[in-house]
């Protein structure tokens, strides 16, 4: 691996390797543009499912415990990407990008013969390439004992432990829903110019924010109407920009993106505090889960891990990080 590597290019073995890599890449491009998964990927998932190669899981060891207690088995780590160029709308590109990635993730889970993908993480690669970004999902495809492989595997953003917690309460986390909206405000009358005013609400901007946020959430609700159930919205991202126009009028761009984990909650009320006979129910009767005080084994917030703010004398700005 030195400077003279360039001369080794004529080596027939290296040439064959390169040709194989190129052929494989071509196959990936063709498959993806035809809405299929690359063949070598399907092979890997099939091998994992059949046990000819080790299974892989993003799960933690304590989550392996639920394999015993709840019959959930990891099959393979699955991932999906959609790299999108946002030509006409950055904001709405987020909806399009995540939706395409979710669809591909489900295809991988299906190839793995899974019932669900748990622990789905939303990621973006730190490559800044003009006017585009990638929407990547990484998770673990799991099989539930006694269930046949699913046609449409569930995509759950929650880790395996929380997945089981929800199932225990007969709630099924079903997927990810995204709502996004943006709007321009053209302030040609200069109503946002409050330079000499006292304490005063900037009504045009308040209205802009409100409209944009409400529209994004309305979009989210419309998506839920299809799937039913509810949403646990965990990402609320908003930005506003001021742009100076040529003839001194100010323009504002506001955008809001909301990302939620959708859950399917059974129709019959679980938290009915009064039963038919009028007797008061305790929470524990409605929820199948037991409540108890427990000591958390996670070592967070202790000075001995060096991660908390207990010590900062030796913190540096050096480029050092997890790899």
């Amino acid at each position: 691996m030195g400077l003279f590597d360039i001369f080794k290019k004529s080596d027939p073995e290296a040439k064959a390797q390169q040709a194989a890599a190129e052929a494989r890449y071509e196959q990936t491009v063709t498959a993806l543009s035809n809405g299929r998964l690359p063949a070598h990927l399907i092979d890997r998932l099939k091998n994992s499912r059949e046990g000819t190669v080790p299974w892989t899981a993003t799960m933690t060891p304590s989550e392996l415990l639920i394999m015993r207690s709840h019959g959930i088995k990891p099959v393979a780590a699955v991932s999906a990407t959609c790299w999108l160029h946002y030509g006409w709308s950055w904001t709405e590109g987020h909806m399009q990008g995540w939706d395409a990635a979710i669809e591909r993730l489900q295809a991988e889970a299906k190839a793995a013969g899974a019932n669900a993908v748990v622990d789905v993480k939303m990621r973006t690669v730190p490559l800044n390439i003009e006017a585009s970004m990638d929407f990547t999902l990484i998770g673990t495809a799991v099989k539930i004992d006694g269930l046949p492989p699913s046609e449409n595997p569930i995509v759950a953003t929650v880790p395996a432990l929380e997945f089981v917690k929800l199932l225990d309460a007969s709630i099924v986390p079903t997927g990810i829903a995204v709502g996004a909206h943006y709007e321009w405000l053209n302030d040609w009358r200069g109503r946002t110019n409050l330079a000499f005013a006292g304490n005063l609400e900037s009504k045009p901007l308040s209205t802009l924010w409100e409209t944009v946020r409400r529209s994004a959430h309305a979009q989210l609700r419309r998506r839920l109407e299809k799937s039913g159930g509810g949403a646990l919205a965990h990402v609320n991202f908003s930005q506003m920009f001021e742009v100076e126009d040529s003839n001194d009028t100010k323009k504002y761009l506001a955008r809001h993106i909301v990302v939620a984990t959708t859950v399917d909650v059974p129709a019959e009320p679980h938290l009915d505090f009064r039963s038919k006979t009028g007797a008061r129910l305790r929470l524990a009767d409605a929820m199948p889960l037991e409540f108890a005080m427990a000591v958390d084994l996670k070592g967070e917030g202790t000075p001995l891990k060096g991660r908390s703010r207990h010590h900062q004398s030796y913190s540096t700005y050096e480029d050092e990080g997890a790899i």
């Binding site: 590597d5 491009v29 993806l32 060891p61 160029h85 709405e92 800044n128 001995l304 997890a322």
Partner: protein, 271 residues
């Protein structure tokens, strides 16, 4: 093992606690919870194992308009980590450890030369308190794992034991798009399929390599898999996908399954 230990390292290791030398001191980077749980799992920490490797990463440029793996860089990133880990493992072997838990892999960049990276592997060497040999890796050396002390305890109680910290690396060059392609996409939201395909290729290669390592270690599965995307001072279109996880095997006779209690689910009121 790839290298003999320096004399001062051997000297340091002599004073440490072993099953034969129970009054010796031990060193570790455990927190209180980790320490207690590693002991509860039936192990004693004996010493902090360190391996390091300062590596000059060669130069390789991807051709401007091509998606391709940069094999020189892939090999460098893998080889350097491998060296650091092997040195850490050599220390563990020398102190008679059955395994290393809580391995942390880090990369440091040297400010005077962008091509020099330091790879560091640190973990705590542990021995089985009752001298059980069944926890060793497939080659009878110490097992390695990036699991914390808590995770180590949980893993044993889930009926598995760690075998080897497995990893796979792929440094990939993402092609630049031509002017014509860029103009075609202007004004519309479209998928850039060649970029998507590049991500798929790079990630698959990293996962496949990691899985091949797990197969070689005769493991049943890989737990705690993480995929890191990182750029270590390369040009803008170059990225490394690094897959890392702990290969595991089911416990044979070490802990009888019926002795392992079913977990109790709790809902935390803290978050």
């Amino acid at each position: 093992m790839t290298s003999a230990l320096p004399a001062h390292a051997v000297e340091r290791l002599k004073g440490l606690r072993t099953s034969a030398h129970s009054t010796g001191v031990f060193t570790s980077d455990f927190s209180v919870n980790e320490f207690l749980l590693v002991r509860k799992a039936g192990f004693e920490p004996i010493g902090l194992c360190v391996g390091s490797c300062v590596y000059h990463v060669g130069i390789q440029y991807g051709s401007w308009s091509q998606n391709q793996e940069l094999t020189v860089l892939s090999k460098a990133m893998y080889h350097a980590r491998e060296l650091a880990m092997a040195r850490m493992r050599a220390e563990a072997t020398a102190m008679g450890a059955d395994g290393i838990v809580g391995v942390k892999l880090t990369i440091k960049r040297m400010e005077w030369d962008e091509h020099i990276l330091e790879f560091i592997a640190i973990g705590t060497g542990v021995v089985h308190a009752a001298g059980h040999q069944g926890f060793r890796a497939h080659d009878d050396g110490p097992f390695t794992s990036d699991l914390s002390g808590q995770d180590f305890w949980s893993l044993l109680h889930a009926g598995y034991r760690p075998v080897e910290l497995v990893m796979g690396s792929c440094v990939y060059h993402v092609a630049h798009r031509g002017m014509f392609q860029t103009m075609k996409a202007a004004g519309s939201n479209v998928e850039l399929e060649n970029y998507t395909a590049a991500m798929y290729e790079a990630r698959e290669i990293a996962i496949e390599r990691m899985q091949a390592e797990a197969s070689a270690a005769k493991a049943e599965g890989v737990v705690g898999l993480e995929i890191h995307e990182g750029s270590h001072g390369w040009q803008t279109h170059v990225i490394e996908f690094f897959a890392v996880g702990t290969a595991v095997l089911p416990l044979g006779e070490e802990i009888a399954p019926e002795k392992i209690a079913d977990p109790i689910m709790v809902l935390s009121v803290n978050d």
